[in-house]
Amino acid sequence: MAVTREALLKYLSKKTRADLSKIDDTTELFSSGMVDSFAMVDLLMWLEKQTGARVNPDDVSIDNLDSIERILAYAASRKR
């Protein structure tokens, strides 16, 4: 299943206390502390469920996970 921007934002709003109305697609989520480690692990598990593909160890990187834009791009690359 494709991960849409809307679904991702809905998920993040449920799982974090970040004010998502104040961010854009390039805002740093993890580096800025807006999304903490616990929420990021939740997000990885959610991505695995949504895409149906396991996250490879080398994929757990800032390049893939630090913004809405990067997460969506990574999810699209993992879609089965």
Binding site: K14, R17, S31, D36, S37, V41, L44, V55, L65
Partner: protein, 311 residues
Amino acid sequence: MSAASSSGTAPGIVVVGSPRSGTTLLRRVLDAHPNIACPPETYLFGAAARFLHADEFAAGLRIGVVDGLSFAGFPEDEVLGRLRGLVFGFLEDYAKKIGKPRWAEKTAFDAFHLDAIRRLCEGHVKFVCIHRHGLDVALSLGDLVAKTGGYVDELHAYMRRYPEPLEAMARAWVDAATAVAELAEASDDALSLRYEDLTAAPEVELRRVFEFLDEPYDEELLGRALAGTGGVGFGDWKTYARAKVDRSSVGRWKTLPTPVQVKLAGICNPTLERLGYEPVETEDEDAEEARRRYELGLLLNRMKQDKGEGE
């Protein structure tokens, strides 16, 4: 029976709520009112509850002060009246000392002694009951324990039974919040409010509180409450560092790992719903998912390390 003071003055006010539910904020607001004196936590009612404690055995005999004194010819009403006089007397004297006509009392751990406090106070005081989301309370109780370096008796009782601290704190909240809800539902002299509503719309909620207390509300009240310490003493240490109503701790429970949320939801959800909160969503995890979560956590730690080295 409705609350009335024997002296014809307005009845005393007792604030009850689970510890870490905003009781100190309420205390500061009450104390800022020109007609109300609310000292820092006195522990008077908890002590009175211990005075009234009786052990009950299978034969039905209650062993404690009230029954002991009944054998000496002092009926229960008289014992309660004398105890009430002692406890209320300190609070009346405090109010007189600072030149206000009415007393209020708030000691957060009173929520664990409500049966005895109701026995002593119902019909003689007005209760202001405050609730807060149970998972936020559990987290905040954990902070309190870390700050004080130990458990007060009321919390230690739960820690002895439940070795996971957050579970113990959540169960303590369930018991305290349930006792407060039962009081609010049963008594005409009780008003309920929620911390989340109080911090979102303080003026609306406080107007409701003071209307219930038959006291005028003025728009400067909240500002006065937050400007001063209202007397230093026992109570929430955080509130003294805040000059405005602060919502930063509302919904903090969302930062808990999902498995912890799931566990606490199982404990707290029925009580949350009773109090009008949305239940916390639960998604049970099997052993394989728990293992995967652990693996991803380790990978994420590595990512944090790489990020640190890259900076």
